[in-house]
């Protein structure tokens, strides 16, 4: 296994009866990156994550995590937050987190100390002796997140970490994820919030019907889907420019998408605009589609119904 690969999935297949949940899937997650795991509902993301964590066994293929097959010792270096949130509801938070830290190989004292420190970091310090039943849904989700990184794992696997959170709490958890990545922790994050992936993700994998449909650095994937066009703001007759095939304007009348003729590049267009005395340009950018557009395009092409 490559030392830089924290997770290596090779030709993994998983079936439930006749239904193929994951179909010959291969990918790697590199050390220290925020890896976005995307796909429509039922695409096989949760099954894949459960196989990585050895909760489910693959029918075919190999999975290596942190240097090899998953052992009890390696599990202690992984934090996992499943999509279906759940913690013991009638146990004081500090006891609960102490127990979970203990299961990950920490001493009770260290686990409790770290739990208190993290609870304070997310403004829940005063609730350390409260039970989960006494907390709001957002607070409970923060506690769940804390339980994932309590033991300073090398790898965290989080399923929809920001769902159901208000913008303030979303930002708090986002900052924590980014800090973890900066400090060398690898993050595998499954989410439907494309905005978060664009902001935080280094690389992405999108699967559909258990198969890989998109894979690579986030910017590269977006560029791959970019058509030969530029987006400009300013004044002038854009259609009159040489090399422009057609022009679209956004609903607010501010941004113009200039679709370029074959053989004309964005550099050519920038030079043409600089040379034109009748055009004023306030902004100029490549027309790169959002991940949401790409997701809809790819998932739609594969015949998914999103309702």
């Amino acid at each position: 296994m490559n030392r830089e690969h924290v997770i290596e999935v090779r030709e993994v297949t998983k079936k439930y009866g006749t239904h193929v949940a994951v179909d010959a899937l291969s990918f790697e997650v590199q050390r220290g990156e925020i890896f976005a795991f995307l796909g429509p509902n039922g695409a096989g993301k949760t099954t894949t994550m459960r196989m990585i964590l050895d909760i489910l066994k693959p029918d075919q293929g190999q999975i290596a995590v942190l240097g090899g097959a998953l052992t009890e010792e390696i599990k202690d270096h992984i934090g996992y937050m499943p999509e279906e949130r759940g913690l013991y509801r009638n146990v004081p938070l500090v006891d609960l987190l102490g127990y979970l830290g203990g299961l990950k190989g920490m001493s009770q004292a260290d686990a409790r100390r770290r739990a208190i420190q993290l609870l304070e970091q997310v403004d829940l310090g005063e609730y350390q002796k409260k039970k989960l039943t006494e907390l709001s849904k957002g607070m409970a989700q923060k506690v769940q997140f804390i339980s994932t990184l309590l033991h300073n794992p090398e790898l965290i696997i989080v399923d929809e970490p920001f769902s159901g959170l208000d913008p303030v709490n979303t930002q708090t958890l986002k900052d924590m994820v980014i800090d973890l990545s900066r400090n060398g922790t690898t993050v595998l994050m499954s989410t439907h919030q494309m905005q978060q992936v664009e902001e935080m993700g280094h690389r992405l994998l999108m699967i559909d019907h258990g198969r890989r449909v998109l894979y690579g650095p986030v910017d590269e994937v977006r560029s791959r889907f970019a058509e030969n066009a530029v987006v400009v703001e300013g004044e002038g007759d854009w259609a009159a420019l040489p090399g422009v095939k057609s022009v679209d304007v956004d609903e607010f009348g501010r941004e113009y998408t200039l679709h370029l003729k074959d053989g004309v590049t964005s550099d050519d267009m920038m030079q043409a605009l600089a040379a034109s005395p009748v055009h004023k340009v306030r902004s100029f950018a490549l027309a790169v589609p959002s991940l949401t557009d790409i997701f809809i395009q790819v998932a739609g092409r594969n015949g998914n119904n999103h309702g």
Binding site: Y80, P82, G86, G102
Partner: protein, 413 residues
């Protein structure tokens, strides 16, 4: 500290610390002991009060006075029984009734003329109760003493006393040898069989509740990403088993203490002798039965969609397991008959069945060992099955799988 031990300790404290568990385990026995203390304190207080003075007339009125008419001519005057006006003979029924109306006697017995052939005696009284029974007993003694006049006094006393029965079972094989004194020992072992049933099912119940909770609070996926299903389940099985055992232990201590306080148990305990081997068998069956039923209950917990369905489905195990209790009479009379032998070997019914057989007679060692081996194998099977179901089913939608899908679910992971 191993993960198994950490889960064991956490579950022990989490379930054992619940108010409901503490109340059931400690509260109820303490309450029972306090009630007994209260009753005893009241009795002591009553006893310490100075006795109220009663007149000789009142004392007399408490004793049933008997009048009788002897139409058989066998009995004559009351003799010693006439002391204190206790018993009076009348010539005719009318005289006797007149005496009763005047309040001279409380009960009138009329001995029929053909008493020796029929034993017929008529009794007349204003009311019938405890005092009437005492009068009957007194009159019976009078009849016996009179009829056996001249016979050795000790012999009369012996005939007039209740018989004392001590049961001894004769071995079926040789038909002659007295093999076993049952009595109090049988009682205690039988109680142990019931306790075995209660404690195993209490423990198994806690285990099922724990598995269902794990499903409902969605905690299982996080725990399973840390510890494998088998040690996880093993920790839960041990914790729930210990809690069930502690509960029964507390109740047993309370019962023994209360009976001791009431002064009824001490003599019985003195006469009890249980062969040490019997205790070994009982302990082995307790451990293996708990594991077997615990595994089955955990499987039911893993399959049940919610807390409501689980206990209802558990009847599938509980009813057959208790089957030997329904056949207690058969076990007591013919412990080596076909059905008791089958029930003591068939794993589901074996714990209750074999303990009952062992309590009432000799069981060939090979049968006991075979029964234990079968229970142990079934326990391994139910624990393994529960771990498989726990692993997969809990992670699925939470719906009850169809019967035909069970094999596939177990095989697939």
């Amino acid at each position: 500290m191993s993960k198994l031990f950490q889960v064991f300790k956490f579950e022990l404290l989490r379930i054992g610390g619940r108010r409901s568990y503490l109340f059931t385990t400690l509260g109820i026995p303490v309450l029972a002991v306090l009630i007994v203390f209260g009753i005893q304190a009241y009795q002591d207080w009553q006893a310490s009060r100075p006795p109220e003075e009663t007149s000789a007339e009142e004392e007399d009125s408490k004793i049933e006075k008997i009048g009788y008419v002897d139409l058989s001519g066998l009995f004559g005057e009351p003799g010693l029984f006439s002391a204190g006006g206790l018993m009076t003979s009348y010539a005719t029924e009318d005289e006797a009734h007149a005496a009763m109306d005047a309040g001279d006697v409380d009960t009138v017995y009329v001995i029929s003329a053909d008493y020796m052939n029929t034993g017929a005696i008529k009794r007349y009284a204003d009311n019938f109760g405890m005092s009437s029974m005492a009068a009957d007993s007194m009159f019976r003694s009078f009849l016996m003493n009179t009829l056996l006049k001249g016979v050795d006094r000790d012999l009369v006393t012996r005939l007039d006393s209740d018989i004392l029965v001590r049961e001894h079972r004769v071995s079926a094989e040789d038909g002659a040898a007295i093999v076993k004194d049952e009595g109090a020992s049988f009682l205690l072992v039988y109680v142990f069989a019931l306790l075995l049933g209660f404690s195993t099912f209490f423990g198994a119940g806690y285990l099922m509740q724990n598995v269902l909770e794990e499903k409902e609070n969605k905690m299982v996926e996080i725990i399973l990403s840390t510890i494998r299903p088998l040690p996880l389940l093993a920790a839960k099985v041990l914790a729930a088993g210990l809690l069930g055992f502690l509960q029964i232990l507390c109740w047993s201590i309370a019962v023994i203490y209360i009976l001791g306080r009431l002064g009824t148990l001490t003599p019985a305990l003195a006469s009890i002798s249980i062969p040490p081997m019997m205790l070994v068998w009982c302990l082995l069956y307790f451990v293996l039965a708990y594991l077997m039923y615990g595994g089955a209950y955990a499987s039911i917990g893993a399959l049940s969609p919610s807390m409501k369905e689980g206990p209802q489905m558990a009847v599938i195990v509980t009813l057959p397991a208790m089957l030997p209790i329904y056949f207690t009479t058969l076990f007591a009379e013919s412990p080596n008959a076909g059905l008791p032998v089958f029930l003591s070997l068939f794993p589901v019914t074996a714990p209750m069945g074999m303990i009952q057989r062992l309590a009432v007679g000799e069981v060939p060692l090979i049968e006991v060992l075979l029964s234990l081996a079968l229970v142990a194998l079934t326990a391994v099977g139910t624990i393994w099955l529960s771990a498989r179901l726990f692993r997969v089913n809990t992670l699925l939608s939470g719906q009850m799988p169809k019967l035909r899908d069970l094999g596939r679910i177990v095989r697939e992971n």
